[in-house]
Symmetry: C2
Subunit: 404 residues, 2 copies
């Protein structure tokens, strides 16, 4: 039983802590304002220690990027500011992205300290708030917009859609790219639904629950497979973080795997936005064997999402309108004709190896499996592995999404 004396002691302790914090805060505030550099109007390539952009602008001199300054014209939405999303946001901030929109409803916990970015003193703060504070400090040139909510509830989903379509750098314009860095199925499906409806290009990322594999995926509505076109591909079983928490266990995670996934994700973003190198459609990471499978998947004409099917029609129409020469040079990928999912391998795995290793449809490179199967509906049903059960069936979840 707590006595009044103990409570009073606690109050005195807290008051002292608060005084100390405020003194420190004031000193630091003065300091931090003095140290917070002024905004930089124009990126410079000058090689001086005080220029935060010299190493990035050097990409032009090295012949890698034609117009690096263009980075400042782009707005990117990062959904999920956890182990992958926070590092993703930090990399984009340090690269000098124009605007970042951050979405998350979680709080920082000490249990997150095995991943990069958040620090113990931020425990208890909302992830978006803590992230914005750190990121603004790192690069005041970036415009930040944060939303501390769960995008899967109806009201929030509507608002999320609105910000994707109107939250760009120019007032009222859409963002340039959406990045999914979430850890559960519902949130991924919500992003998929929104991007299909809006025709918004996005990139998916994920890390397996055993912490030793991950992947990134580029999704162009109508052109590549969306999240509802095919079962999501995972390098190992992927279990919903919330399901695990209910069961009193947690997924394993490593700062290494998450750092690598954030790194290959933002690298793909830079290549896509600034137009250099080859943008990967799908890149996996198997840490146990240091194996990095790549591939690409076509959209499924029987996709459950009507907006995906509409985008496919639009894509076909546009492709038909393109001058013939362009269509011919388009792509040189190996197509597996017998593959119902239209998965094209552009991987290191040879066709022979793949044939030998192929289990149930769809054919997948070694080390990759599907997270779950899509319910029998359109007649094109693979018999892949199924994931640990959640409270709701996939069909229920999809029906829910459709109602939004």
């Amino acid at each position: 039983m707590t006595t009044v004396e103990e409570l009073k002691l606690r109050i005195r302790e807290l008051e002292n802590e608060l005084i100390k914090c405020r003194q420190k805060c004031n000193a630091e505030d003065a300091g931090s304002h003095a140290l917070l550099r002024p905004k930089i109007e124009k990126m410079s390539a000058e090689v001086v220690d005080s220029n935060p952009y010299s190493r990035l602008m050097a990409l032009k001199r090295m012949g890698i990027v034609e117009d690096y300054e263009k980075i400042r014209t782009f707005a990117v939405a990062v959904v999920g500011v956890g182990g992958v999303g926070s590092v993703t946001a930090e990399m984009l901030t340090r690269c000098g992205i124009g605007k970042l929109l951050l979405f998350d409803y979680d709080k920082v916990e000490l249990a997150n300290m095995n991943r990069l970015f958040f620090q113990p003193h931020q425990a208890g703060l909302s992830k978006v708030e803590a992230a914005e504070h750190t990121l603004r400090n790192i690069n005041p040139d970036v415009v930040f917009e944060t939303h501390n909510y769960n995008i899967t509830t109806m009201d929030n989903f509507t608002h999320f859609m609105d910000r994707i379509s109107h939250g760009g750098l120019e007032v009222g314009k859409p963002v340039d790219l959406v990045l999914s860095c979430v850890d559960n199925f519902e949130a991924r499906m919500a992003i998929n639904t929104a991007c299909n409806e809006l025709g918004q290009i996005w990139m998916e990322s994920g890390v397996s629950e055993n912490a030793v594999s991950g992947h990134i995926q580029l999704i162009i509505p109508g052109e590549t497979a969306c999240f509802a076109c095919a079962p999501p591909l995972v390098v190992a079983a992927n279990i919903d973080e919330k399901t695990l928490k209910r069961e009193g266990v947690c997924a394993a995670s490593l700062p290494t795997t998450m750092g690598v996934v954030a790194g290959i994700l933002v690298q793909n973003v830079l290549k896509y936005l600034l137009g250099f190198g080859t943008v990967s459609r799908y890149l996996g990471y198997n840490a146990m064997q240091d194996f990095f499978p790549t591939m690409s998947m076509k959209a499924n004409p029987h996709c459950d999402d009507k907006h995906c099917r509409r985008q496919q029609e639009e894509y076909k129409r546009k492709e038909a309108e393109r001058p013939k020469e362009e269509v011919v040079v388009e792509e040189e990928e190996v197509v597996h004709e017998d593959n119902e999912w239209g998965i094209e391998l552009v991987s290191e795995v040879t066709e022979a190896e793949l044939q030998a290793a192929s289990g149930p449809v769809p054919d997948l490179p070694e080390g990759i499996s599907v997270a779950y199967t899509i319910p029998d509906k359109e007649g094109a049903v693979p018999t892949g592995e199924s994931v640990e059960e959640t409270d709701q069936s996939l069909e229920e979840l999809m029906a829910q999404m459709r109602k939004m």
Copy 2:
């Protein structure tokens, strides 16, 4: 008279005020005193938000790592605390490594802000000092030892050797692993010389000057090629940072490439120390094509470093003493008999592709080239590409090293 309820209310108010103040306060410094968590005696797997090790201990339940707690018994030296080294140190700190020894002589500059880890308010501080402050704050369970000096000068090199051989967690014992995260040839050669003499296992890392490729390499003295056995392999031309600075230009760098290299480096460290997965001998990263070549190289019997040759003799003797069965199962790699460097490919590149692509000796997978050639001396001279000249010739540098 104050009631217990009123006191409790006041406590809640104060706690909220304190959280707000700390949030307002500059990230790093605010937390360092008041909120620094107490040291944790024993790692626990308990799934509570306040346990910083729950996600790491889950690796045991997932069947990935047999004994995760063992991480606390290891000491790792990180030489170079820049774009790769700082993230490497942070990952190891968050993983709960026993002890970190940091070596660097550079200061934090605003020009470093395009890479992860350091923050603008640390500009002007020594890198090791700034890093220790941040890292101790993140995980007070780790023991830190920092050295703010250049390891290539004679006195410092002697001290560096002493810390490698006596700076382990147990007093007087050697460290468990040395990681090279430096950006110039002299420092790499100094680490190589020290590790050959001490028989110390180490890992090399590097990022190309055009920022879009990198690599990691495991070096076991006597068994694998050391840094003097063969020209260092790079995925693209590698120019000394100091040479560039003199010329008023700078190397390009990206937080993405450096984050990926730090991630695959520390992943390899975890696999090596905790005994899971396959430890990579060499893993390259080509960001333009998302290509990750792997291979391994045997030690060169004609290596210029006498300590390397001595370690090779010792390794041969030990191998001969090993029971026959063990020797047989050892490795199943493809050996290219016609390869003077004893390079074994364990890569995705087929033998046919390699033959087609092979230029001058040594045969290397596509996208990898040598940084420079070793002077004609022992009769085994490849005619690879040579690097931009530095002030000193390779021979002069090697002679210098030998004098130390």
